[in-house]
Amino acid sequence: MLLKRLTEASGVSGNEKEVRDIIIDEIRDHVDDVKVDRLGNVIAFKKGKNNHKKLMVTAHMDEVGLMVTDIDNMGLLKFTTVGGIDKRILVSKQVLVGKNKIFGVIGAKPIHLQKREEWQKALNIDQLYIDIGVNTKEEAEKLVSIGDYVLFHGQYIEFGENLVKAKALDNRVGCSLLVELLKEIEDTSFYGVFTVMEEIGLVGAGPAAYSVDPDISIILEGTLCYDIPKLDKHLIPTYLNMGPAISLVDRTTLYNMDFRNKIVKIARKNNLPYQYRKTSMGGNDSGKILTTKEGSITATLSVPCRNIHSPTSVMSKNDYNNTYKLLKAILTEYKKGEL
């Protein structure tokens, strides 16, 4: 299954090769052109009959993770974060280090040896390290180098009512939607772009948009979902199982109202559920695409993901399917020249 393969692949920002290879392998026979640019973005083009406006659909390939910064005398690995990670979710987890995916754990001081006030404080990154089981620095250096990427270890698991738990749902969910779209849609011209290094500052999107130079862009994302009970409703950014989230505003973009309203209309016309993304926090590739060259109009469609940026992200297959349906409906209107 594509989403399983994509989420279990290694693709910490700057090291997207595994993900890129899966994507190219999947789409190669279904697109008219596919190239990898100088930054590692995948730019695919699908040729159809319409040619009024240039549409680009994007999804970033990278995920948050860690990077080895030092190896101590006991062979324990110090690390830093790559992308936005809550340091508190790192404790007591399994990770995979480097190209050879050496298995390691991030442990913590035994509770028995702590003072009571210690547990009330979050552990800082500099208090944590990765243990791969070696006893000395020399043994570790045979297996690991400074600068090695570190990946959360997490399997794709389906559970509950149509839910999926996986690492890197942000944004393999977007990659999976875009791959399916490129494979299924016929007779409609559009660019499918898979970007690198979104999580460390929207690095790939600008250059990709520069070379594609789109009129309109749709950014596909996994977005934050925090639908816990007893939270004021207006504080809940998105709900699970309530359909694709359409962005209003985030730290990088004030989304174009006309384009957004057209998308809402299309959702209504097709009887598809949708919700607004009700937070201004976070941001995505839209921020760069919006302002590249003469600029382009953007919209973001997201699949809500609980526990985003953690190894235990959760999404609903219903939301995934409804996002895909809405995306297809948008492309149908686009083909008719209605966007």
Partner: protein, 351 residues
């Protein structure tokens, strides 16, 4: 069965204090080959008897390792189906955020412990640990469906797959003290190859993590001449004071302190030296936090020893041990027990 395979089975299995019987079948069927008799007492302790060479009036040695593990328990079901929970045994709340769990309802249900996205957090929040009462477990069903399978009080374990690390190290959840159970198994295998006079009672004790309750009752019933607890000790890591820890890969920790009978300790050190088995000392002046504490003060008092397998990251779900330490613990224990005879016992216990 290979001892590492057995340890994997135990580590991946679930036996939260008070719910240990889920492991009974695995433990009994594995020990059966080497045991003369196995029974379960009123509290749920599994007692595995291996008889000594002289059937008449054998003295008794009891070896205890606890089969229970720390865990979580369902406390409340929210309107949207999320579970609220509390802890059983000593859990650092910081180690359970973002974990995969198994809720042991009328069937096993997969779930995750939820966390707030970093994007939504105030800068001040990020330095505070999240309390257990502010976490939720998401098992992915609406309340109605949850209630069909989950009841208040159901135990929950972290889902963790026992895995080999580099060298002889392995990692898994609840190696505290399933490594001890596996060491008893390795020991009974060793004993099948050598003569021992004592009747040896291997006890998989229950409820150690909540107050050594199984050790109290099983020691009372067995009334051994010598009691030995096999538990885990703090493996050294950079942030821990050297004096509080034992090193990985350097053999079992032999505890020194008030909980330990000095004559027996002297003997076990001598045996380790005779057989060239590596060992280290672990200093605990007062009562140990092990079944050895319960043994020592049962009935009129029982002369007690404690052996510790070095273990890193105790009470997290990524506990690490070195399999060589486990094997050396078992070997030392076997040779020590074989060295005790009805002739030397009294002398060893004399003050």
């Amino acid at each position: 069965m290979d001892t590492k395979e057995f340890l994997k089975l135990l580590s991946n299995g679930s036996s939260v204090s008070g719910h240990e019987s889920r492991l009974n079948d695995e433990i009994i069927s594995t020990f059966k080959t080497y045991a003369d008799n196995i029974w379960i007492d009123k509290l749920g302790n599994i007692i595995i008897l291996k008889r000594g060479t002289n059937d008449q009036s054998n003295f008794k040695i009891m070896v205890a390792a606890h089969m229970d593990e720390i865990g979580l328990m369902v406390k409340y079901i929210e309107d949207n189906g999320f579970l609220r929970f509390t802890n059983i045994g000593g859990i650092d709340p910081r180690t359970i955020l973002g974990q995969e769990v198994i809720v042991h309802g009328n069937k096993d249900l997969f779930g995750v412990i939820g966390s707030k996205p970093p994007h939504l957090q105030e800068p001040s929040e990020i330095n505070k640990a999240i309390k257990i009462e502010d976490m939720i477990i998401d098992i992915g069903y609406p309340k109605k469906e949850v209630e069909k399978h989950v009841s208040i009080g159901d135990p929950i374990t972290i889902k963790r797959n026992f895995t080999s690390l580099q060298g002889n190290k392995v990692m898994g959840k609840s190696l505290d003290d399933k490594a001890g159970i596996a060491a008893m198994y390795e020991c009974i295998k060793e004993l099948s190859k050598i003569n021992h006079e004592a009747d040896i009672y291997f006890v998989s004790t229950v409820q150690e993590e909540v107050g050594m309750r199984g050790a109290f009752t099983s020691t009372y019933k067995i009334n051994p001449d010598i009691g030995i607890a096999i538990d885990v000790g703090f493996g050294s890591t950079p942030e821990l004071p050297k004096g509080d820890t034992i090193d990985m890969g350097k053999g079992p920790g032999i505890t020194i302190g008030g909980n330990i009978h000095p004559g027996l300790r002297g003997k076990i050190v001598a045996v380790a030296k005779d057989y060239n088995i590596p060992f280290q000392f672990e200093v605990t002046p007062g009562p140990t936090g092990t079944d050895g504490r319960a043994m020592q003060i049962t009935r009129e008092g029982i002369p007690t020893l404690c052996l510790s397998i070095p273990l890193r990251y105790m009470h997290t779900s990524v506990e690490v041990i070195d399999m060589m330490d486990l094997k050396n613990t078992a070997k030392l224990l076997a040779f020590f027990m074989a060295s005790i005879s009805s002739e030397n016992l009294e002398g060893l216990l004399c003050y």
